[in-house]
Symmetry: C2
Subunit: 258 residues, 2 copies
């Protein structure tokens, strides 16, 4: 079971959009995929039409010791299941802070899931909130890989410096296996000067961890959530669908088509 944390404390860069569409595209390559929403905004569940107001969620797993297998929901996308969050999760940040072992709650819950049904899920993607608090630390402690969606904006570089600092802190103290595996540039409009400048800087610092695939701006990506679908189902021939299928191949190590 490969667990990947999708993280960037900068808001609105495409974390949820990437978690949903990369997840569905990986399922399209035959992988069995679990998506976990760690963001109190609960956008991931809503994006796939899951009712986040009803039933148990990740909140119950972290705070009330409910098992992950009892909160997993099916989605309209075949091969993709979801653990929704709900708005109570923002209270969880405060509740978790004083709990012993607060940083390893998610890791332990995923271990129980994997032991209970070994090999059931090939890939687990963790959608993180736009912060570096205890929920994001839980994701880093539970993952071996980190995927960073990045918008080519001026603030991106300042954010990356802090994020790499936090990742190495977690590596030293909680999870020696976690590492920043890839950065995917989102909403990339190659025509603007600022975009090229920022991507050149990111490539200078991170080398080939900046993935080859970029995600172009595409209104179908913004429309798909209101239909409760991934872009791959909502508009399979759109730029958004093409880009996320390509990202899935690159992430899975399959040679890219031209």
């Amino acid at each position: 079971m490969d667990t990947v944390a999708v993280i960037n404390q900068k808001g609105g860069v495409g974390k949820t959009t990437t978690t949903v569409n990369l997840g569905v595209a990986l399922a399209g390559l035959g992988k069995s995929v679990l998506l976990v929403d760690l963001d109190p905004q609960a956008n991931l569940g809503t994006h796939l039409g899951v009712d986040v107001m009803d039933g148990k969620t990740i909140y119950d797993v972290l705070v009330h010791d409910v098992k992950l297998k009892d909160v997993i929901r099916e989605t309209p996308e075949s091969g993709v299941s979801v653990v929704p969050s709900n708005l109570d999760l923002s209270a969880a940040e405060m509740e978790l802070v004083s709990m012993v072992g607060r940083e390893t709650l998610l890791r332990d819950a995923l271990e129980v899931l994997d032991k209970g049904s070994p090999g059931h899920y090939d890939v687990v993607l963790l959608d993180c909130p736009p912060s570096l608090g205890v929920l994001t630390i839980n994701a880093l402690t539970a993952s071996r890989q980190v995927l960073v969606p990045l918008q080519a904006e001026f603030f991106a570089l300042q954010g990356m410096a802090k994020l790499t600092e936090i990742i190495s802190l977690v590596q030293r103290r909680l999870n020696p296996d976690v590492e920043l595996t890839g950065i995917v540039a989102c909403k990339v409009d190659r025509r603007t000067k600022l975009t090229q400048e920022v991507l050149d800087e990111v490539r200078r610092f991170f080398g080939d961890r900046l993935l080859e695939t970029v995600i172009r701006p595409n209104v179908k990506l913004a429309e798909a959530p209101s239909h409760g679908q991934s872009v791959l189902s909502y508009a399979p021939d759109s730029n958004g669908a093409v880009d996320y299928r390509r990202l899935a191949r690159e992430w899975a190590g399959i040679p890219l088509e031209t």
Copy 2:
């Protein structure tokens, strides 16, 4: 001293961009303006060329009882001063949680500032992080007005429901004077269907609290931070500058030009 919290837990919608450019535009109308950064990302200070790695910040005010007047920095924009944050502020969320009176620290610090130099600042804008944690609660407790930058996206409406819930919670328990005064639509591209649908919904729920002025997408707004300036200084004739000057007039109750 009018204190306004600029809030939206949805990330990347234009909170920092609005705080900086509305602030500078209000100074252009003759007001003396203080901008306070409550976001650990520290984007506000960076946007105005302030060195956030050096010297004391809002972190010291909230956690070490330093006075606000000792952390205020001047900026290149006349009539605008800034209280920067720094990356340590993300640790503050955890440190503050167990402190008594943790929600009123900012209100008390602003009261001391106002008593020390009455009438020195006409307007204080508080730039909030993309979350509803203890820093945002501090902003709501310290303010009478709330300005919500909103991107016309599917997730916007779900977020507004939770935000109005939190505002009424703070009204009941901590600050009876706080209210949602205005919503400003940012990055509005009137040509897309999704945009019109979302703005129609927002107008249905919030009526004339949805401000008349909208902020159009404008690359100058994204470029200005890399020059350490507001868009009003960087590109005074751009759509971004025109829109934020108009927003300032609407916010200050000055009749709008055509």
